[in-house]
Structure formats: C-alpha cells, structure tokens
Symmetry: C2
Subunit: 124 residues, 2 copies
Amino acid sequence: MKYTKATNYALHIMAYFVKQEGKDNLSLQPLASHMNISPTYLSKILTQLVKANLIQSTPGVNGGYSLRKLKTEISFYDVIQAIEGSGALFTCEMDHACHIERVMRDAEEKMVNYLKEKLIYDIV
Amino acid sequence: MKYTKATNYALHIMAYFVKQEGKDNLSLQPLASHMNISPTYLSKILTQLVKANLIQSTPGVNGGYSLRKLKTEISFYDVIQAIEGSGALFTCEMDHACHIERVMRDAEEKMVNYLKEKLIYDIV
DNA sequence: ATATTATAGACTGTATTTGTCTTTAATTAT
DNA sequence: ATAATTAAAGACAAATACAGTCTATAATAT
C-alpha cells in the first residue's frame, strides 16, 4: 500500500498554485515544464483537481487554470481525496460490523484528521 | 491506495490465534477451512507471520502454527507491518527534504501510533 | 521408512497505476 | 464567421502490484 505518484504530483501542483496565487491563469504547457511531467498526463491530474473544485479551468486564449478556493482553505486532505478518492483504506467483507475494521478505521481517522488540519499554505 | 486483502486475512488469523491461545498447534488445513481461503494461499500469509516472529511453525506430525508472543504483546501494527512491510506510505523523489513529504509522514505517524497501541487482544 | 506437516519458488490471471495519443469541445481574438 | 488557443475525454499500451494456484522440497514424529 502506497500513495500514488499522482497524489504527489497533485500536492506539488497545488503548492505551486498557492505560491502563484493572484497571478494570471497558468496554462498546461508552462505548468508541465515547471513540474517536469508530460502535458497530457498533467492534464489528467488537473482535471481531477478541477472536478474536486480546488482549481478552475477556462479554455481558449489566455485560458488555463487558477485556484478556486482561498489558499487558507485548502487542506492536504482535500488534495489527496481529489486523487485517491474517499473510500476507506481498509474494508472487511468477511464480517459485517467487524471489530478489526472498526480499529482500522479509527486509525485512519487519526491520519485523516491531521491531513484535514494541515493546509497547503502551511508549507509554501 | 488500499490495504491488501492479505492484511485483512492476517489480522483475522492473528485474532483467531489469540482466541485459541494455549491450545494445540493449529495446522494449515483446519485453519484454511476456518478462514475459508485456500491452504496454499493461507500458507504464504502464515509464512510472513512466522518471519515477523508473531507465530512459530513446526513441521511434521502434530506440527502446525502457534503464537510466539504473549497475546498482550501483539499490536495491530505488528501484524500490518508483517504483511505490508515497513516503508512509508508516501515518498517524494522530486525534492529531498520535501516539505510535503514531511507532513505526509507526520500524518502517517498518527495512524501508526494508534495501531501500535491497539492490541489484537483488545478485540477478541 | 513413511506419513505428515510447513517452506519455497515458479507460474498465471487480474487489477491498478502510469503514461501516451487522438479527437472533441469551449472560448477568445480578429 | 473563422481561426487560434486552450482544456476535456476517451481509447489505448506498458509496467507494476496483488491474488491466487501448483509443484517440488525440507523437516519432524512415529
């Protein structure tokens, strides 16, 4: 079990947006060179961030991407959830009301709570 | 990112061992029927638990598997680590001393600390 | 010796992750 | 209107990880 690379990219992308806050739209090509990944792959990650309402996109000339929320309102968890989804890390299909699952979910919650508190802005 | 099924099996297996503590060795076949998985697959999981020193195995007639540690000394984390390994969930190869990685590891630590406190014995 | 038990390793199928490539849709400038 | 620019969507492919099977080997007790 590991976080995906896409999550790492997404966090770095969001950190970059937070740094650039207020500036013009960032478009795909420059972002891709800055992040050192292919434009098409980056595009898929950005689309996920758009769907999660963390950034917004506008097509056409002078279009691109920009923050959709205040930089003080974007937690690590928001970004992670946008990429990894919101399902629990552990699920037991053997028992229902499984005691093991209960503990595993409580444990996950400790991590999640921390990631909800921690803002991208905290580390830029 | 999800925990593997093997981890779920391992946790249930260890819970069963803790319940049966003091009784005779459990051998593969009965364990497999009880857990409802194939003996060969179960065997691979058990071998990982043996290597992690959570259980011990003895071959031959009347052999099988039994706990190696006191039931009050086996945490959820011990079992999870035996299956999932001990690497961090998040690693950033882009930056060294990455601030994002720092936060992600602190977050993981919250979960891990909880799982280290919580014993299998607590839920049997 | 033989039966019984675990261990190891090769192997297969499936799912997930990490990408690429091509087409389509939306917007702006002329 | 049209052309240029930009993002979105979806099909595809390669690589990795996961889940599971099968067979052969090693260790132990009787």
